[in-house]
């Protein structure tokens, strides 16, 4: 067998690898063009879980976010319906700390000062345990409680709730229940401060 020079061998090996990588890169670029999901679209798609209809971004009012922030959570996105005839509907993306793996975030639909629906946005709780705090049966406890200017927030309890602002924690999932409550309270505080009191005070 004819022995090839070192240079030839190096060049051929490199060429083949570069060609394979180049074709692979081109293919991925093509696929990416058709499957691109931008962040805005992702939120809007997830938000359909709590509001059926097109949404547009609503200013978060960064200047006052300092006062709105409280220890347990924060609101990181607010959306309102595109349709101008629909008033008083806010879809909030809120994050709560204290979850099993640190944080979780949920979507909250506040219509006419009351929470109408909640859905999971991003959470990684233990299936069968923490995940129970991300189900409709648990979320229901927050619904239809009027958020007034002096609303003090939801309180997590371990026994049967006595008042409407008390929420019974899921047994075995205290951490996840706490994180959801934190996120809901962050949303309620944002609503109170920005919408009910009309901004910075």
């Amino acid at each position: 067998m004819k022995t090839r020079s070192l240079g030839y061998e190096i060049a051929m090996t490199a060429l083949v690898l570069v060609l394979i990588a180049g074709i692979a890169g081109a293919l991925l670029g093509l696929v990416n063009h058709f499957t691109k999901v931008d962040a805005e679209e992702l939120v809007a798609r997830k938000a359909t879980a709590v509001y059926k209809g097109e949404l547009k971004s609503f200013p978060l009012q960064e200047g006052i976010s300092q006062q709105i922030q409280f220890e347990g959570g924060r609101v990181f996105g607010v959306y309102v319906p595109k349709d101008p005839s629909v008033q008083n509907v806010y879809v909030l993306c809120a994050e709560g700390t204290g979850a099993y793996k640190g944080k979780l975030s949920i979507l909250i639909n506040i219509t006419d000062g009351k929470i109408k629906s909640i859905a999971k946005y991003e959470a990684d709780e233990t299936p069968g345990l923490g995940s129970k705090a991300l189900q409709e049966s648990y979320f229901k406890q927050y619904y239809d409680v009027a958020i007034t200017p002096d609303f003090a927030g939801f309180r997590l309890v371990k026994t049967a709730p006595a008042v409407s602002s008390e929420v019974k924690a899921i047994s075995g999932a205290s951490k996840s229940s706490t994180a959801v409550t934190n996120a809901v309270n962050a949303a309620a505080l944002w609503y109170k401060t920005v919408i009910l009191k009309g901004g910075a005070q």
Partner: protein, 217 residues
């Protein structure tokens, strides 16, 4: 010849099932089978990658220099995995989220690299495709099976549908990692037990044949 092709196809499903017989790819097996649907989706993703990479590697086996075959294989496998990932994120976002980090980790799934190295790099294209489908199907079947058992015991549901009041008496441990090991081990023992029975029966039958043939003689 036709029998040979059929053998290649069924090899991955029964005789060298990647999960229960070869014990390959146990990491995603244990991690994603908390629900039957997740197991099925993971299996489908792996099958697609396995089929595409087997075919591609088989086509390119004479072009790829022998000494750099591993980097070339990894680039090819990673490309198909990324395609699956992008498509899933766009069209099946909930499954994409459920599979999480285990979707990109298919790149280093040992079933795929093992089949590329052991089969596709030294066999014709059609055989490699059949091997990919067979192995992928075996993997999907096993993962779905483990998922069904874990979901049934751990959450009392079947493919997400609650079965009566079984949810009230379900044992959460089966959805947790420990339960994954328990179910995997038990099922593996069961599969090995059944295979042995089948093999013994085959052996006895052939022994009988020989005995009767000897008697006649």
């Amino acid at each position: 010849m036709r029998n040979n092709k059929l053998n290649i196809l069924t090899n991955g499903v029964v005789k060298s099932n990647p999960t229960f017989r070869l014990v390959l790819g146990t990491c995603p097996t244990l991690a994603v089978t908390t629900q039957a649907l997740n197991g099925l989706a993971m299996g489908a993703a792996v099958t697609f990658v396995l089929l595409c990479s087997n075919v591609m590697i088989s086509i390119l086996k004479n072009v790829i220099p022998d000494r750099v075959r591993i980097p070339a294989f990894v680039v090819i496998i990673a490309t198909f995995v990324t395609v699956v990932q992008m498509v899933m994120q766009k069209f099946l976002p909930s499954l994409y989220e459920a599979l999480g980090v285990f979707l990109p980790l298919i790149v280093v799934n040992c079933i795929i690299l093992a089949r590329a190295e052991a089969f596709a790099s030294c066999n014709p294209v059609l055989d490699s495709a059949l091997d990919g489908i067979g192995m992928g199907f075996g993997f999907t079947l096993s993962l779905t099976f483990i998922g069904i058992v874990r979901e049934l015991l751990g959450a009392g549901s079947f493919f997400g549908l609650p079965i009566g009041s079984l949810g009230n008496v379900s044992m959460t441990v089966f959805i947790l990692p420990a339960g994954g090991f328990l179910v995997y081990g038990t099922l593996m023992a069961l599969v090995n037990f059944l295979t042995r029975i089948a093999e013994n029966r085959k052996y006895e039958k052939s022994a009988e044949h020989i005995a009767s043939a000897e008697k006649e003689a």
